[in-house]
């Protein structure tokens, strides 16, 4: 089961509003797993009736751009590189509640959210994310992004 369009839209709108990251569904386009480092960010959510986990993965270079955009600095600035993982975590932190609202309804809360965390993953991890029933392949500046919602 692919992710609902509303859920994908909630993430893409937030990525644009929070980090000027233009993101859209890949719409049938295929991408190999990124050759460079892949950052996987994840966050759990829990409400009275619903709980689950949201994950997003992308090339680390995209994370550098997110951090730079949020901090108002250039992509090549040292601070953008050193805060790359923090940037994707903050994006997930901001997008999480909107994704959950899109998935379960705006009045289904309240929800508690874990503090987002990141780890590096590889081509096998990327393939596993894409193979999840709640995944969506997105594209940002010709670079693939995977969004996964694991509703329990």
């Amino acid at each position: 089961m692919a992710l609902d369009d509303n859920v994908v839209g909630a993430f893409c709108r937030t990525a644009m509003d929070a980090a000027f990251l233009i993101c859209e569904p890949a719409a049938g386009r295929h991408f190999p797993a990124p050759a460079g480092g892949i950052v996987l960010a994840g966050m759990d959510y829990r409400g009275v009736r619903h709980r689950g986990r949201i994950e997003v993965a992308m090339e680390r270079e995209r994370c550098v751009e997110i951090a730079a955009s949020m901090m108002g600095i250039e992509n090549h600035d040292e601070d953008a590189d050193s805060n790359a993982e923090d940037g994707i975590k903050e994006l997930l932190n901001i997008a999480g509640s909107r994704i959950v609202e899109a998935l379960h309804g705006a009045t289904s809360g309240p929800f508690d959210y874990s503090v987002p965390e990141t780890r590096m993953t590889d081509a096998a991890g990327w393939a596993a994310l894409l193979g999840h029933e709640g995944s969506a392949l997105l594209v940002s500046d010709d670079s693939p992004v995977v969004l996964v919602v694991k509703a329990a």
């Binding site: 929070a18 901090m71 805060n83 923090d86 932190n93 909107r98 309240p110 959210y113 503090v115």
Partner: protein, 129 residues
């Protein structure tokens, strides 16, 4: 530049930087802007004095924003400062509960620098009144 003393509380360095820059662009002197990485650090800073307004994230480790608001409300300190919650929280009941404990403003992330300036302006007007 105004003399408002602002504490930005967010566990995310990118989040802290974004809010701090927006606060500065709103006319607050850079020297008047301090940061904290969680509620516990913020509480320590607030108790030392010299904080007029707190821009507070909710989802943080160690001590989250809800817990800090509870402590500031219980001690009465929340009446002496302006607490602005900056969070992605979207549940209206939780937002109203925070306001009932003394939170003056709620800004849902993501927000623009212009939206933040509106809040700073309102704080300055209320302080001059």
């Amino acid at each position: 530049m105004n003399a408002l003393k602002v504490l930005v509380v967010d566990d995310s360095a990118t989040g802290r930087t974004y809010v701090s820059r927006a606060v500065e662009l709103s006319g607050v002197a850079a020297a008047g802007i301090r940061v904290a990485g969680n509620g516990l650090e913020a509480l320590s800073d607030i108790e030392r004095g010299g904080v007029d307004a707190v821009f507070l994230d909710l989802n943080m480790p160690v001590m989250n924003g809800f817990e800090l608001v509870d402590k500031l409300s219980a001690s009465g300190m929340i009446s002496k400062i302006v607490v602005v919650v900056t969070s992605s929280e979207g549940n209206q009941a939780r937002i109203e509960a925070l306001k009932s404990k003394g939170v003056k403003f709620f800004m849902r992330k993501p927000f623009s620098a212009e939206q933040l300036k509106t809040v700073i302006d309102e704080i300055m007007i209320s302080r001059s009144g």
